[in-house]
């Protein structure tokens, strides 16, 4: 964007802010009196202003203009300060210092937050200190802080799976009502509404992400005359695996390098790597009549060694035996598989979070932007009914999108509970990051986050921003279809969930390296390790929390 254009935009923004400031005092009246008369005109003006703001922030830096920079994040943060100014006086938090703990994945997350919050700091007078963590360091850092009573952060970027560890132990501060109004929680997609983000009926979470895995594929691998030999994109795992075997030995139509099919990340990732086996397994084990799929809800007996899970492990072992993965795939970091392999043109299919979609056309390192398509995760032609203890073959394949991680949220810890000024500052900062308008920008550009509000699925906004309509409907549609799927595989919010995943990664690594005789033996080893963890953490409490997280 040219500087003069940007400055004109900022001038418009300044007048909008004055208008918002004046309107803030009457905002509650507007809601109460409806859209009639003068207030109705004001309400429409606010709506138009918001639409204008959303359109303008989506132009920063603009689709196809390369990766956004810190300057862009600051611009967006500045332009989205309206709701903060409606609730906080300038300089109100002078002297307040807050500590924010979050991630530094892909130079995103905290890096964005810094940029977004810089104008917030300048306006409010508060100062934020940062604790940056790598993905794999996150869980241990958090657990050690909790266990040793050394929680040293006021605001934390955290996934819903950790709510059992934090909210369950009384470490979080309850969200004030003014924050709920500021961030418009009703706009969240349904699966992210309560009970996610709540504990014992109290709300703790400002959602900034909506996690699920979707199926990303290369369109140039399918169709008449394609190297896969398939006219249509595969929709079930057996078709996916057939493609992986079919393209072996051929050349990638885009890069000219060796062609590969599905990219299963096979290496551990501090527990996060287990999600990729779940992508396959959920189709085989998440029965539409049963909410549970990881454990038996009455006993916490692992289901990970039932025939459905074993089938998923066997599928991967078969592909390893067939040499269908890129060399050294067994040692490829999952992050590298998504961003340095798939987006760079190695491999043709992948299950990943939504940031593959938002990066495909906006990241400098992506080469697949014009040949990438999306759908919900593949299904399976048979599904294991754990209650009946038997396979079933439904008329249509069984689909069960994996709601992996339930998305990141921003939480405030109880360190601020005793200091009302600090508490308001912490919630104001969190609300700024979880604001409705800023969230649209995060969903549209590389941020580490994917769409999570109903308003994010307004395709017109994306098209106006410069996205290709077909691409965005495809990408966002796969997210929306996953979120709204009736048989979605929901992750349990129980303490120590990543311990289960981490030990499973170790056992899977042995299985994939051929150290166990079979997929069943591998799965049995995982189940035995999970039983130990459940006993150690406390079986009764885990049963109770697991049932609660499933809404049972």
């Amino acid at each position: 964007m040219r500087i003069d254009v940007y400055q004109r935009l900022m001038a418009v923004q300044a007048s909008r802010r004055k208008f918002l400031g004046g309107a803030a005092a009457t905002a509650a009246s507007v809601a109460a009196l409806g859209s009639t008369g003068v207030l109705g005109t004001m309400s429409r003006a606010l709506a138009q202003d918001s639409a204008s703001l959303r359109a303008e922030i989506l132009k920063i830096p603009g689709v196809g203009m390369g990766s956004p920079t810190d300057a862009d994040w600051q611009k967006v943060g500045e332009m989205c300060l309206g709701p903060t100014k409606a609730t906080v006086q300038e300089g109100e938090f002078a002297g307040v210092e807050l500590t924010f703990m979050g991630l530094n994945n892909q130079n995103l997350h905290n890096f964005l937050f810094r940029g977004f919050l810089k104008p917030w700091e300048a306006y409010t007078g508060a100062k934020i200190n940062w604790i940056d963590l790598a993905q794999a360091d996150y869980n241990p850092r958090l657990q050690q802080s909790i266990a040793t009573g050394t929680v040293d952060f006021d605001i934390i970027e955290m996934g819903a799976p950790f709510e059992g560890d934090t909210a369950g132990k009384g470490l979080l501060d309850e969200m004030p009502d003014w924050v709920k109004a500021q961030i418009d929680m009703d706009d969240y997609v349904n699966y992210l509404k309560a009970p996610v983000g709540t504990w014992d009926g109290k709300t703790y979470r400002i959602t900034i992400d909506g996690d699920c895995h979707t199926f990303a594929y290369r369109t140039d691998y399918f169709g008449d005359g394609s190297i896969s030999g398939m006219a249509a994109v595969p929709t079930t795992w057996d078709e996916v695996d057939a493609v992986s075997k079919a393209v072996k030995g051929q050349k990638d139509p885009l890069t000219g390098l060796d062609a590969y099919g599905f990219l299963d990340p096979l290496k551990g990732w501090g527990g996060f790597g287990f999600y990729f086996l779940e992508d396959r397994a959920s189709a085989y084990v998440k029965h539409p009549d049963d909410k549970a799929w990881l454990f038996d809800p009455d006993t916490m007996k692992p289901r990970v060694n039932n025939p459905g899970w074993v089938q998923a492990i066997q599928d991967v072992m078969d592909l390893i035996a067939a040499g269908a993965y890129p060399p050294d795939q067994i040692n490829a970091d999952p992050g590298a598989t998504g961003f340095q392999q798939f987006l760079a043109g190695t491999g043709s299919m992948l299950c990943w979070w939504g940031d593959i979609g938002s990066n495909a056309r906006t990241s400098d390192t992506s080469v697949v932007g014009d040949v990438v398509g999306f759908s919900i995760n593949p299904g399976a032609k048979k599904v294991y009914n754990a209650k009946a203890g038997a396979w079933e073959e439904p008329a249509e394949p069984n689909f069960a999108p994996n709601m992996a991680y339930l998305g990141w949220g921003v939480y405030v810890t109880n360190r601020v509970s005793g200091d009302e000024k600090k508490r308001k500052a912490a919630w104001s900062a969190a609300a700024h990051l979880g604001g409705k308008d800023i969230s649209l920008w995060m969903a549209a550009y590389p941020s580490g986050f994917q769409p999570y509000r109903n308003s994010h699925f307004n395709y017109d906004e994306w098209e106006t921003a410069g996205y290709d309509r077909a691409f965005i409907e495809d990408y966002l549609g796969s997210n929306a279809d996953s979120y709204n799927h009736p048989n979605a595989a929901i992750e349990p919010r129980i303490p120590g969930i990543f311990q289960y995943y981490s030990v499973a990664e170790d056992e899977l690594a042995k299985g994939f390296a051929g150290q166990y005789k079979s997929a069943q033996e591998t799965a049995d080893a995982i189940a035995a390790a999970w039983e130990k963890i459940t006993d150690q953490i406390g079986r009764d409490s885990q049963v109770k929390l697991y049932k609660a997280s499933l809404g049972m």
Partner: protein
Amino acid sequence: MTTTSPNVGQTFETVGVGTSASRKSLGRLIIIAGTLLFAAVLLFQVLYAAGVSASGFASWRPVFYAYFLWAASVVLGQILIRGEQGQRAAFVLPAVFFTVALVIFPTAFGLYLAFTDWNLSGSVGRRFNGFDNIVALWNDPFYWNALRNMVYYGLAVFFEYAIAFGLAVLLNADIKAQRFFRIVFLLPFMLSPVAVSWMVGKSIMENRFGPAARLARLLGWDNPAFFTDPWIARLSIEVMDAWVFIPLIMILLLAGLQALPKDLLEAARVDGASPWQTFWRITFPLMLPVSITAILIRIIFKLKLADIVINVTSGGPGGATDTVSSFIYREYRDRSNVGYGTALAEFYLIAIVIFITIALLVTTRWVSRYSTARAVDRV
């Protein structure tokens, strides 16, 4: 022989004589006050942490401050009570208190933790569980796999030693740009193993675009993969680790070579010994004590190998490159299993101490016998 002048000694003596009864009393008082203060603060906080008392500090930091004050009072008290002797002790005591605080106490506390069941996500806190962790360790295939890998990595030290000895001999020879080459060969040792993990393991050995992979393709390896086959993966990790640490062995050996008596080597040359005979019958035996020291130091470093493994392979494929430290890292960090993780670490520490002690005894005896045999040979 002493270099201390009588006058200086006398000055100290005067100070010693000047340690009056009142100063001694003051010294004792300071020590007692410091000790009581530390004991009181410690007891106060221990009772609070144990749930016996309702009041206590929010953190253990005041206990640390009290410990620091206690240490200072002991040092000051010693000077006041013992004069010159106390001043001498003042040079050593800070190191003693430092070691107690940062080595002995953590090790002892770790030993206690090793007998507890403590999962950070547990619904209850730390619980004493007797020998359960030791039994679990005994039946843990991941731990024994890691120990077996340590044997492989440990044996590789002898290859590293051979290469390092060759380089040391080379750099000890009268070659051009000797100083330049000494610095160049030392450079890898100055690099952080984490940096080596990324520069070499994740970049140079990257299977698609890494220079090592490209070279391997040129040499006829169609799909070079350095971390997929268990033995190639182990070898790759070993190569990276060796690259970092061979310079350490080399520099130790080079120092030993430069300290060798030149007259022996000249006598051998005058007597018509070939270079190989000179090396094998004179240099190598004379270098044995230095060699053993270098090898043992390197083995101690090797037993701590973790960073390269964690960064490059996470212990894979299937635990083929796992080390005890990298396994403990996962158990402790990823799975928050503090009790068991600490038990693994304490067991490993004890095993290392026993191993190194035995190795020292055996090698000392062997060197002694070898030297005697060579002496008899020469006679």
